[in-house]
Amino acid sequence: MTFPYLLDQLVNGLILGSMYALVAIGFSMIYGIVRLINFAHGDILTIGAFAGLAAFASADLPFPVVILIVLVAGAVVGMVIERTTFRPMRGSPQVTGFIASLAVSIILENLAIMILSAQPRTFHIPAYLNTLVHLGSVSVRVIDLTIVVLAIVLMIALVTFVRFTRIGIAMRATAENYDVARLMGININRMIMLAFAIGSALAATAGLMWGAKYGQISPLMGALPGLKAFVAAVIGGVGSISGAVLGGYILGLAEVLFVGLLPPALSGYRNAFVFGALIIVLLVLPNGLLGRNQETRA
């Protein structure tokens, strides 16, 4: 194994980790505010990928506009899911929301198959995104660089929003205690909807990245990355945004290095490796790396 090869693998891990991190943030934000593991979250990735493909194919829009369209599409779908499915169930047992999220996932996947057919599609990106950039001894495509930079920009924007703005503080207050948040004058329904919107916008962006990076998308593409991002959120400590980021990058790097550094005969076990890691983390650190011990919502 050569050093450039290792460097290539690290870059690939960073890219995969960026996408996992973006999806994991949504899992964590939604869990943090409604104590719900939303298993439909991975399917938002699919929606983002198809929205991105449509935007590229139909109008040949510039990439920043495509990103904006995907962010908005994700946010809208997230808000609709919250309003139609999870709000009516608020206050019911946790397992009810969990099962409902599986139902939403199945509905979204099958709707996509009905409308778009189950055939995978090629995700074409403009040629300039495929040009190579040389960074020292590694060569990466523009799109690879864009993915990592965009992910980091979005994460910094999110953390700034949540930490320092009035609405961000209100979201954290809502996540902690609904009734007391209401006593402060906070409209908690709006805060919960906002958490779904932000989380889903980020997941949709990850879908766009996924399509652009791997070149192929399909109606079921979101399921596995969604589950892995859930693993990333658990590793980082579900409910914690910084934990989700950390978990995403750890998982992305570990998965790529597992495939790249171990004998090829083992690379077929990459998914087993990821979910094996989940079991070990749950055994050793039930609250993840940065998670607090949280009781369920009363």
Partner: protein, 241 residues
């Protein structure tokens, strides 16, 4: 300032408040005393909109020429905007927010940045410890500090009426005295106070008027002094033999 007319409120499936009426006049301290589970917190929650009465009316500022506002049809956030602040039982500080964020979130609905900054400075002057520990998470404060923070947070919305739920609960006697001094200072600033307390002796001492609540109904009312000298009240709530 506040007129509660014959409200019935359910809480967690029990009929906790059964036809309760009381009034609070502008600038008064009125307290509601009673045993655990008598319906005190439920009454306050109905005023602040956390619980909705299934019968009866709660009128805010019935003395205004603009007419009274019926709170029973309003959401909690509208009630805050109307000028009522509820300082909840057990302080309920946001433990993940810093002390300063806790204070700022109390002013969530206010748009006058200058007024908010001025009120924050006032609260820092009154409770210097809250400025000193401003960047510390709320759950790292002691019980007494948390109570000051809860009071400060409730004042940050610049309310006309504050509901205090057991502010002395769980505090050392010296702090309890301090908290009651603060309540009197709040009233002196022109804020009307509705106080719920188990510490009946202290509550009656600072109250203009008071009500005794038993099993969700008012059983006695009068001035603070009248109730403090009432034989039944002394036996039941003031620990007299």
């Amino acid at each position: 300032m506040l007129e509660i007319e014959d409200i019935h409120v359910n809480r967690g499936g029990t009929h906790a408040v059964r036809g309760l009426s009381l009034t609070v006049g502008r600038g008064e301290i009125v307290s509601l005393i009673g045993a655990n589970g008598a319906g005190k917190t439920t009454t306050l929650s109905a005023v602040s909109g956390l619980l909705r009465p299934r019968k009866g009316r709660i009128l805010y500022r019935p003395d205004e020429t603009a007419g009274a506002i019926d709170l029973t049809a309003m959401k909690a956030e509208q009630i805050v905007a109307a000028g009522i602040s509820h300082c909840p039982e057990a302080r309920q500080i946001f433990g993940n927010l810093t002390v300063t964020e806790n204070l700022r979130i109390g002013a969530y609905l206010r748009r006058d940045a200058e007024g908010v900054a001025k009120d924050l400075a006032d609260i820092h002057r009154r409770f210097p410890i809250l400025e000193e520990r401003g960047s510390v998470p709320g759950d790292k404060l002691s019980g007494g500090e948390q109570m000051m923070l809860a009071i400060g947070r409730a004042l940050m919305s610049r309310p006309k009426l504050i509901l205090f739920d057991e502010p002395s609960l769980g505090l050392a006697p010296i702090l309890v005295e301090q908290i009651f001094d603060i309540l009197e200072a709040v009233r002196a600033d022109g804020v009307t106070v509705l106080l719920v307390e188990q510490n009946a002796a202290m509550a009656l001492d600072i109250s203009d008027r008071a009500y005794v609540i038993e099993a969700g109904e008012i059983t006695l009312s009068g001035t603070g002094r009248e109730l403090a000298t009432n034989a039944d009240v002394q036996r039941a709530y003031l620990g007299a033999a």
